[in-house]
Structure formats: structure tokens, C-alpha cells
Amino acid sequence: MNLDWSVVWQHRDALLAGTATTIVLTVATMAIAVPCGMVVAILRLYAWKPVAALATAYVEFFRNLPLILVVYWAFYVLPILTGVGLSPLATGLSALALNVTAYNAETFRAGINSIRRGQLDAAMALGMGRAQALRRVVLPQAMRRILPVLASTWVSLFKDTSLVSVIAVTELAYVAMQIRAQTFRVLEMLTAMAIIYWLLGYPQAKLVDWIQRRFAVTE
């Protein structure tokens, strides 16, 4: 076995660009999926029955599908259904956002449900509107339980961005596998890819542990 690790250094610019795309995808997906997840959760909890049922169906459907299938589906089916051709990046982002929104909606719903009903009743008895009571009384308390879950969803999402490589989004996994195919330096490139993910993901996983300890709710 002769190994040539210089191939990793030679392609540092491409790998760096791929890493940047991975991070952008993670941040952009979360930026979409947090507000959307909140809306879906509120629809599920307080909207008119048929709308609530629709929101529930959406959440249950996407939580029970492999993300990679959603990615393929978005790539092949979305352009036909909508008639709009999106770039691979936008397609990947849509698939990730559809998936994470469903998870976040469930997180928000569970967080809001964990606050006793009396809190909402009391706030409304004091003359607040329902929206106001939610915003001022229920959500601030629910946030303590929601934040740690959002943090671990973040780490899962960071890893899941690698799945959009199957539709040629030039993020880290795709870039590394492209270089592997061009240079035939299989072991070096795949190991480098794993190490880069590890370097980025390990501190995030540790940060999540810290957030979970910091916000632990003892009953």
C-alpha cells in the first residue's frame, strides 16, 4: 500500500469550498426550518381542525421517510410538479428544510405541551389574547426544553447535509468523492473527508452535551 497524502493538500481549495457549502446548507436549513416548524406546530395545536390535521399529516409523513428519498424526490419530482427548475443547491435545501421543519414542529409542539395548561388559562384570565399569552408566557418557559432538542437536531442536520451529495450539490462529501474519482487516491480522500467532518462535528456534539446539561429541567 503506497499512500500519498499530499493529494489532500493539493485540493485544499476545493475541500474548503465544499466545507463552506456544508456549513451554509446547515445554517440556511435551520434558518428556514425554525420559523416554519414553529408555524406548523402552532397550526397543529390551535388551528381549525382540518388545517391542524393537515399539519399533523405533514409532520408524521416526513418524520417517517428516509431523508435520502426526499432528496431524490425533490430532485426528480419537484421540477415536474412545479414546472420550475431549481439548482441542485436550492433543491437540496428544499429537501432538507422539508425534513427538518417536520422535526422542529414536533419539538415545538412537545415543548409547548410540556407547559401546564393552567399557564395559558391564567394568562388569558388576566386579559391577554391567546397569541399574546403564547408569546409572553408559554413560549419563554417552553424554550428551556426546546433549545436542547434544537441543538441536537442541528448536529443531525449538519451530518445529513452529506446526503444532498447524491444530487450533485458541491458540499464536502460530494467534493471529496469527486476528487477521489479523479485522482484514484481513495483511502486518502475518504479518510480526509471523515476527518474534516469529525473536526467540525465533534465540537458541535460536545457543545450539545453542554447545552443539555445547562438547560436540564429537573422536576
Binding site: 421517510l65 428516509p66 426528480y76 445529513d160 447535509t161 481513495v186 475518504l190 467532518y197 462535528g201
Partner: protein, 221 residues
């Protein structure tokens, strides 16, 4: 827009073999990673002191690296290291087990740690060895408490097998992708695949929750 779902019925055996492979890979990797996870968790909790940091590093690393990366590395890079080529199914089983065992280990650890320490002390005070106490007193209570987590673990396992399509395991995702490409009918094929995954996954999570509600009282102490 016209839909023609005969593409599904005319390729029923092709897609059916994919479903069988998906189920076989899910079952196999679920079982091996549960067994491996149990060993890892016991090593973390009761193993020799020098072993614990190694185990923690392994678990946290698997939380940091995408399963796609683990699978691709196991299939393409590992044979270069070992000199042994593996068929895709075996590589997928190995890669998924490496990845999922870390999750299983965390579930087992959380379950065991949720049992109050007094239970262990009481068992030891009654003359049991630590191994006996873990086996006879802690585990039975912990297992019941782990049930809901195992439900989501099983669902994660089934979803992760779809990623094995990347290393050419001919499971449902791979078969659907091939058929979608050949028939130029991606809408019908992928919609069918979505339906199948949903029909497999939805009852798994619901079923485990149902069983848990029935046996939850056994886990109280």
C-alpha cells in the same frame, strides 16, 4: 399530467426484492448494533478505567461523522487497508453497525443510569456480585425504560438503510432510483417508494409506543 402506475406492477418483483433487502438489512444491522451497543455501554459504565475514554471517543466520533461517510469509507477505503473486498451488503452491515452501535450504547447507558443507584447498592448488600446485580436487578428495569428509545432507534435504523443505496446495496431506495432512471417515470416510482417506507416506518414507532404503554409499570422502582 398523466400518471401510469403500471410501471410499479410490471416491476413488482424488482421492487419487491428491494423491499426484502431493506427489511433484511434493517433487521440484521438493528440486531448487531444492539448487541454491540450493549457491550459498548457496559464497557463505558463498568469497564476498566483505561477503556472508558476510548469508548467515549468512539461514541462521540460516531455522533460527529455522517453515516454516509462511514458507509462510503467502509466500502471503498477499508478494503484497501485490510486487503479484503466486501460485497455491498456486508459493507453496509458493518458500516451501519459501527454507526448505530454508538446510538444503541447511549440508549442502554441512559436506561441503566436511570435506575436509582440504591438498587445496585441493595443488590450488592444482599450478596450479589456486580455482574449479577446488573443482570438480575438493573437490566430488567432498564430494558423496559429503554423501550421507547428503541422504537426510535429501530426507525432510525430502517431510514439509514436507505443510505446504503450509495454503496450499491440493492435495497428499495437503490431499486427505485434504477427503475426511475430506466422508465423515465420518477413520480410514480418515488411516490411508491415513499408509500412503502411510510407503511413500514409508521407502525414501527406507533407499535413500540403501544407496547411501552402496556409494560411501563414494570420499569418503575
Amino acid at each position: 399530467m398523466d400518471f401510469d402506475f403500471t410501471v410499479i406492477t410490471s416491476h413488482a418483483r424488482f421492487l419487491g426484492s428491494g423491499i426484502v433487502t431493506t427489511l433484511a438489512l434493517s433487521l440484521a444491522s438493528g440486531l448487531t448494533s444492539l448487541a454491540a451497543g450493549l457491550v459498548v455501554a457496559l464497557a463505558r459504565l463498568y469497564g476498566p478505567r483505561w477503556l472508558r475514554p476510548v469508548v467515549v471517543l468512539y461514541i462521540d466520533s460516531m455522533r460527529a461523522i455522517p453515516v454516509l461517510v462511514v458507509l462510503v469509507w467502509t466500502f471503498f477505503a477499508l478494503p484497501i487497508v485490510t486487503g479484503l473486498t466486501m460485497p455491498p451488503f456486508a459493507a453496509a452491515l458493518l458500516g451501519l453497525t459501527m454507526h448505530l452501535a454508538a446510538y444503541a450504547a447511549e440508549i442502554v447507558r441512559a436506561g441503566i443510569e436511570s435506575v436509582r443507584p440504591g438498587q445496585m447498592r441493595a443488590a450488592v448488600a444482599l450478596g450479589m456480585s456486580r455482574g449479577q446485580a446488573v443482570r438480575r436487578i438493573l437490566m430488567p428495569q432498564a430494558l423496559v425504560r429503554m423501550l421507547p428509545a428503541f422504537g426510535s432507534f429501530l426507525s432510525i435504523t430502517i431510514k439509514d438503510t436507505a443510505i446504503a443505496s450509495v454503496i450499491a446495496v440493492t435495497e428499495l431506495m437503490r431499486q427505485s432510483e434504477t427503475l426511475a432512471g430506466q422508465s423515465f417515470q420518477p413520480i410514480e416510482v418515488f411516490s411508491f417508494a415513499m408509500l412503502v417506507y411510510f407503511v413500514i416506518l409508521f407502525p414501527v414507532t406507533r407499535g413500540v409506543d403501544f407496547v411501552y404503554r402496556r409494560v411501563a409499570y414494570l420499569g418503575r422502582s
